[in-house]
Point group: C2
Amino acid sequence: MTPSVTTRDLRSGETRDLGLEESTPQDVAQYCAVAASSGYGERPLTWRADLLDAMATELEGRAEGIVACADRETALGLPRLEGELRRTVYQFRFFANVVRDGAFLGAVIDHAADSPMGPLPDLRRMAIPLGPVGVFGASNFPLAFSVPGGDTASALAAGCPVVIKAHPAHPETSELTFGCLIRAAQAMGAPDGTVALVHGFDAGVSLVTDSHISAVGFTGSFGAGQALFRLANNRQTPIPFYGELGSANPLVVTPDAAAMRAEEIGQGAAASLTLGVGQFCTQPGLLFVPMGADGDVLVAALVSALANVETGTMLTTGIAASYAMGVQDIASVPGAKQLVGAATGAGQANPALIEVDSAIFASPEGARLRQECFGPMSVVVRYANLDELHRTLAACESSLTFTVHIGDEHDEALSDLLKLGTTKAGRVLVNGYPTGVGVNWAQQHGGPWPSTTNSLHTSVGAAGIARWLRPVAFQNIPDAALPLALQEANPLHIPRRVDGSAQ
Amino acid sequence: MTPSVTTRDLRSGETRDLGLEESTPQDVAQYCAVAASSGYGERPLTWRADLLDAMATELEGRAEGIVACADRETALGLPRLEGELRRTVYQFRFFANVVRDGAFLGAVIDHAADSPMGPLPDLRRMAIPLGPVGVFGASNFPLAFSVPGGDTASALAAGCPVVIKAHPAHPETSELTFGCLIRAAQAMGAPDGTVALVHGFDAGVSLVTDSHISAVGFTGSFGAGQALFRLANNRQTPIPFYGELGSANPLVVTPDAAAMRAEEIGQGAAASLTLGVGQFCTQPGLLFVPMGADGDVLVAALVSALANVETGTMLTTGIAASYAMGVQDIASVPGAKQLVGAATGAGQANPALIEVDSAIFASPEGARLRQECFGPMSVVVRYANLDELHRTLAACESSLTFTVHIGDEHDEALSDLLKLGTTKAGRVLVNGYPTGVGVNWAQQHGGPWPSTTNSLHTSVGAAGIARWLRPVAFQNIPDAALPLALQEANPLHIPRRVDGSAQ
């Protein structure tokens, strides 16, 4: 018998059957086949943009119910979820504008010409949709990185139909938000198969291995992400797998910064590391703080701020159990000092702070300290001087983000730290906190392995659309038979490079 | 004892010791480590462009010796190799201009602003070099896809040092051309480790698995490419592997085209399929020709043109042996009719042409017909009508190219064939031949698996540089500490998107 899908009120523990069964392999195969033959990608760009806007409007219109449901299932709280819904709605509208802008097509025209290679024919290049995309909803963002999230919005923007695997921690929110997407699709006359939703672990495996699926977007843990990445690579026809796996996100406080803003940074770091019960992939899990009086003030401010943080309910009991074990494991590294950390009950988490010196952190025994522990905990690494700091940072794994707190713009430590941060992360920031990832043109959410499976791409921002596109060149094609984006008269009015120059 | 590197005169069979040993794992590790710490990628863009120009000039200055050596080692003939050298030289100059143009950096600036997500900080994004790149020289292009080839030129353009694995079929050409790159590098004061050359099969394995290598470019066979792709994916830190693996390259002749240009197409196809003894990854290995009188005329013209093609020397005796076996294998498919095909001696190849009907081609027994047979042979598939043609084409694997010959621009078959070709290939062309891949802005050399391991990229043309770059976003960084490409005043004068608009 196929298991049924149940929702759980995370605070009360009450469960309710949603009247749905988990998707069978046959269901998944059927959705993917319908997606592949839907013809969605051939609709005009303006229609595609309007569809994304319609989806935004549907989500906005049901905001209250969606947020209430997401709060029951995730306990993330109304203010956070209201903000996440606004972001999710904005994300669809933003991608509608990315589609209208047209630059994402990368249209290039080289007219026939002589060259040192002899005469070259007329050649025109543009990006086309890859085909049906599989999207995995994340536990920690029931909206912005789940059914109506950035992967879905960017894939639809690219012209790819989407088959989404709901995260089991919020199936009802998934159904509610999927309902919005479906209603918008139907109202716009979108073809069957434009979006589909599946439930269940096995459905996820079927999705990654389905022959009609041409790429996968995933946000989640390193373990699950790496397993699915291998699965995608080892298919008979390998497909791109974009896994956004989280990371330890070092935050470095320079001696100047500690001298000037110890209290402020201690409080700011406490707020960032405990935001959403620490359940952000950009949560700052490593804090590099100078030894000495300034650093001591900073750590004291941090400890005192953490004392005021309430016990939080984590997204699943499994995540809470992993967190408790992770804290215990890290605290047991010889030389590690637990500065903050109360016992946590089932499903709940209190903040934790563990302090070590640089030598322990960079040692073979310190490996556990250098990995992400998902939840409201950070490791404070105390360093003696900038040389030691650099040697210690070199031991860090790559991350989604790398943060530097400096005194002022003349801080002598800044230049080398930026250089190092650039090699270690996808986003480098100064005097801020890594949590909070805006949706815009410049965003980069994705760093070198192990923080993502593909560092050439981003899962947030306009460039996220490139994950679902491949280029095709058209040689010597009669003008009327060319895609509109490449016809000589530029009927879509999109930016193009013609004979080497931007037009 | 480490094996020594020997060159072989392909026509006379004479071998000569080059006075070199194959590279040991220690050699490879050493080159990669030096490359990683070279600081090459930090040099200014203008210097980098000048280095590429200097490499072009060095190659041009030694053209005669290089071409003569390449001809001894590959027997491809002086005219072809002179053309290939011109292309190779041009490719360096072209990438120098791609660097000067600056658009490849993808610079984007979003100033701090309010948004539906709340206030967003100043965020600036650009592409940075991935790090040392491993390049595998190809057997069939001793220059344009080998040591001084497109992978090397584009990786150096991206700011990545390059460690090249010489193809064993032309080690002396590899050394000669590498000498040009090194002399230019030294004259320009490039850091040690900017380019390195290794020899030997084991060196190739060491290269793909070296922890300092951040991406690999490969042009070669499906078997070798797939094995190295798996190796790259299964590293502790997986890296992008760009394998350009060749394909069957369907060429479709519509009924209208056959009615209007049967003789001309027969002769043109014969020339394209035998060019360079058929040793092109874009060689048209599948010819779809209508049944009936027009198609018969076309096939007769093809057969007669092939009768005038001289026996050719293939790149290695192994390749020649595989070709002979492949022809035999394909000819033995029940129902296949061998129209052209003489016995070939050791290392030599004669053209071959095998005819089948659509049903055999698309049948399970026809699998062998649908794969590339590297060498001067094509399979002619005769189809009864356009419906049958489409069903038959659906059975084809994806390819680098897809060619359609039409009558005129009103040919009723054109639209559907273009649509199908776009799903099946990276370059779609009308009334031309797929051999010949120009270096320019619009080029796309790379199609869906199994023709390449990564269809989102190209190994020829300006966009090839994107394979070696990853984006980084800089948040709230003091202007003077930003990379020049992102500083507010745009000191590099490069194209950028600022607050959503191209500048």
